[in-house]
């Protein structure tokens, strides 16, 4: 009898445990996630939206052919395979089978072709430019799109595939004026669909029944609500209070530190996909001297900038290409080691001496004091602190750097439109497709080359990389570019910032993707998030 009782008890115990396990597994489904954002998306039109908030929301509703994985490598997403021909002039995109728009219409190659056509015809976004290199587009079957390029152009599919949200042709072909289309009831194709929004307040998304990228075939969450908190301090309070469970916007170090100590929250870091740099205007009477630029680069204490201005939330970048894109970085190409003595030596060898004894070296030709002025966005606290360290660095090697913090639009105006500055301190938000972006930034004809850099060698390497027929050619030229770049020194790359994001421990399953554009709210992350 006793034995039976024991057996019974054991069975009950096992049963309870087992049902507990089952319950825990089932519990993964359900739950509503609230996410803090700083302002409204500029538009819900997937063609028009061009800001981070728009991406956070819209990329969960509209798909892209490619996404970036955790290591910043672009991989197919709704595309099953993407192949480039050996000569680099044909790109074949094969879509995943069985995907449907949220109104039940199947996704076809016609949608992808249409998206590219409208993008290019209407010049809706900067990425429309890559279609300049497209000769023709074919759709041999329902799931295949073939892009015939005028010449090899490795940046084409990474740019179009990663940046352009695909739209349903059957809806967008009916829209008369795409630019003014506000898209209040989006029919998308993603892990979530928009069900309600109130501008200035919130955007509520509901999960779909089937999603290929979710661990169990559909998102665990029922609802995702993006709530607007314009002030980052308030947003962190809302997180602590439990009004939101996660911040889409990155939070400053001081607050990250506080949340790290709180057992209810998890703080994760992810690198920016851009970088911060100090740029030299070649039209400045001093700065066209390569020796001066090299001396300044040698005198810049980048470790100190990362340690003090960023409080450790950053990493070094040596060439024009961020270490985040590891495979493209030439390990031989390095900025000079920090050495004020070395910098002074370069200056005196080049004839810069303090002839009038006022503590500032004089230009060997004109005899003038080498005094430079640096412009930057004065509202950016990281740049503000970085600027102060740079001014000290200049002083230590006998130069003078006057700081000129500006309001952001004034800064942009001086830089882009007037090109009136000596030195600028600025950053690029996202630089992807190394082969293409170096060209957009540093080619002598590039709009963003406000330094007025003109180097035949650099131009050649950038052109060759940009239109390389295969990866080997591209890599050779990118390597050569980087080697020459750190010698020519049109800009001194300073750091790649690490962003902090925080989420509540009530939820699990997050994956952090590079940059503040993706972070924890990338669709690949949200489609696997569950309430504990």
């Amino acid at each position: 009898m006793k034995r039976y009782l024991t057996l019974f008890l054991v069975l009950v115990l096992v049963g309870t445990l087992f049902s507990g396990v089952i319950a825990a597994q089932e519990d993964k489904f359900g739950g509503n996630l609230n996410i803090g954002i700083t302002t409204d998306p500029d538009s819900l039109n997937p063609f028009i939206s061009n800001d981070r908030i728009g991406s956070w929301i819209l990329n969960n509703i509209y798909p892209t052919l490619m996404v970036m994985n955790e290591n910043a490598v672009k991989v197919p997403y709704i595309a099953d395979k993407i192949n480039t021909s050996d000569d680099g002039t044909q790109v074949v995109v094969k879509l995943k089978e069985g995907l449907e728009w949220q109104d039940g219409t199947p996704l076809t190659s016609a949608d992808v072709k249409f998206t590219g056509e409208i993008l290019y015809e209407e010049k809706l976004q900067w990425q429309a430019d890559v279609f300049d290199e497209v000769e023709s587009v074919e759709t041999p079957d329902e799931l295949t799109v073939v892009y015939n390029l005028k010449r090899p152009y490795p940046g084409f599919i990474g740019t179009f595939g990663f940046w352009q949200r695909i739209v349903p042709k059957h809806i967008f072909s009916e829209i008369e004026n795409i630019r003014e289309f506000t898209n209040k009831n989006p029919v998308g194709l993603g892990p979530f669909q928009l069900v309600e929004f109130k501008r200035g307040q919130y955007y509520t998304l509901e999960s779909v029944d089937e999603w290929f990228d979710s661990p169990e075939g559909r998102p665990y969450l029922n609802k995702v609500t993006f709530r607007v908190y314009p002030d980052v301090n308030t947003m962190v309070l809302a997180l602590q209070r439990g009004e939101i469970d996660l911040t889409a916007k990155d939070i400053p170090r001081s607050q990250a530190k506080q949340l790290e100590q709180d057992p209810n929250f998890e703080v994760v870091q992810t690198p920016s996909l851009g970088f911060v740099y100090m740029g030299f205007n070649y039209n400045n009477k001093f700065l066209d001297d390569i020796k001066l630029r090299q001396a300044i680069a040698t005198g810049v204490d980048r470790e100190k900038i990362i340690g003090m201005a960023l409080q450790g939330d950053g990493r070094l970048i040596d060439t024009g290409i961020s270490p985040v894109y590891e495979e493209y970085v030439n390990p031989e190409a390095k900025l000079p080691e920090y050495s004020p003595q070395g910098a002074k030596a370069i200056l005196s060898q080049a004839g810069y001496e303090d002839t009038d004894g006022n503590g500032i070296v004089n230009d060997p030709e004109s005899g003038e004091d080498v005094v430079l002025e640096m412009i930057y966005d004065g509202n950016d606290i990281y740049l503000k602190k970085t600027a102060q360290i740079l001014a000290e660095n200049y002083k230590d090697i006998g130069l003078r750097l006057n700081l000129k913090p500006l309001e952001k639009s004034t800064y942009s105006d001086l830089l882009f439109n007037q090109k009136k500055f000596d030195v600028n301190l600025g950053g690029w938000g996202i630089i992807d497709e190394a082969s293409d972006s170096m060209y957009t930034l540093y080619h002598s004809t590039a709009y963003l080359n406000f330094m007025s850099l003109e180097s035949d060698r650099l131009d050649r390497y950038m052109e060759n990389a940009r239109f390389a027929s295969n990866k080997e050619v591209m890599m050779d030229n990118l390597y050569a570019f980087q080697q020459e770049f750190v010698r020519e020194m049109p800009v001194v790359t300073l750091y790649v910032q690490d962003y902090n994001f925080a989420y509540s421990n009530d939820f699990g399953g997050f994956t952090v993707y590079p940059s503040d554009l993706k972070g924890l709210v990338d669709p690949q992350s949200l489609s696997g998030v569950y309430k504990k």
Partner: protein, 318 residues
């Protein structure tokens, strides 16, 4: 009376035209243009030019100005650069929230401020008067974001009574919705009340002091009227006149408070819309917001003048 009203309205329209022109010019003289903020730097020059053209920013300043005035006369406030929707729509969706916040603040501020002012004026020079003065001066000097964050930290997070942000919790309905909206209003209204209290208290105090030394108060007292009646019936009623004027004029000042308060409390009103539009250089939205603001200030001025004339028989209309 009719003549007076017509004259005031004509003057109002002229003021409005000046306000509209100044707003237009100030925005255009801001450095840079909206494309430097909104356009992706990677966009090429042709695309940039196309967008400028679309916004009408490629034309000369004079042409832009007259086009804008013509548009206004048709009752059209234009299209938001950022949201690509009519400005009227953008503003109308935000306006009710601001009216609610402002209205409630006005009422609360008056209900607290006027009695405090009366007491301070009546007890001039006493400790109570000094305390009231110190308190209100503190309120007027404090930096709104600091006050807002402090209140949020204590009453939203430390002692979690009130919500942190927004106008209501997404998804609530019915009677809970009303309660939710109320709870979301408490801290912003409290912040604005603390800031604006001084205006009422100090005005009311000053005019109480003046009024209490008037002959008719002495007459009332010597007639044997009770002290309570003297203060609340004879003195307060007369002392209220300048305060009413101030209430009207305060409206313009309150908007600046709304910009900061609504931003800190994530409140979806016009103030926060202005804050966001400045950052994005969304000219049409800013022009629309300032136009509405100018209209309401001018209307309030006319209204105050009329009320003033009605309250104070010494004001001659013609």
């Amino acid at each position: 009376m009719t003549n007076y009203i017509i004259k005031r309205i004509i003057r109002g329209i002229i003021t409005l035209l000046i306000a509209v022109s100044v707003t237009f010019l100030i925005l255009r003289f801001m450095p840079g243009d909206p494309t430097t903020i909104m356009l992706d730097p990677r966009m090429n020059e042709a695309a940039r030019a196309r967008l400028l053209k679309e916004f009408g920013l490629d034309k000369s300043l004079i042409v832009q100005y007259f086009l804008y005035i013509r548009q206004l006369l048709k009752g059209d406030l234009g299209y938001s650069f950022i949201y690509r929707t009519p400005v009227t729509q953008v503003i109308l969706s935000r306006l009710p929230w601001t009216l609610l916040l402002m209205g409630l603040t006005q009422v609360v501020t008056m209900l607290i401020g006027i009695p405090l002012g009366v007491i301070a004026g009546y007890r001039k020079g006493t400790l109570l008067d000094h305390l009231i003065n110190a308190f209100t001066i503190f309120g007027i000097s404090v930096f709104i974001p600091w006050l807002g964050i402090t209140l949020l930290y204590f009453f939203g997070y430390r002692i979690p009574i009130f919500p942190i942000g927004g106008a209501y919790t997404p998804g609530v309905e019915g009677i809970t919705y009303l309660k939710d909206v109320f709870m979301h209003l408490v801290l912003p209204v409290l912040t604005l009340t603390l800031i604006y209290l001084a205006n009422y208290v100090l005005y009311m105090r000053a005019s109480m002091v003046d009024v209490l030394s008037e002959d008719y108060i002495r007459t009332a007292r010597s007639k044997g009227v009770t002290e309570n009646t003297v203060v609340w019936k004879h003195a307060v009623r007369n002392a209220l006149i300048p305060t009413v004027t101030m209430a009207g004029l305060l409206l313009g000042r309150m908007v600046s408070g709304a910009v900061l308060t609504e931003t800190i409390f994530s409140f979806p009103g016009v103030g926060r819309m202005i804050y966001e539009a400045v950052g994005q250089q969304d000219f049409p939205v800013l022009q629309g917001a300032f136009l509405i603001l100018a209209i309401s200030v001018i209307a309030m001025n006319i209204l105050t003048d009329l009320i003033y004339a009605y309250l104070d028989p010494r004001v001659q209309l013609n």
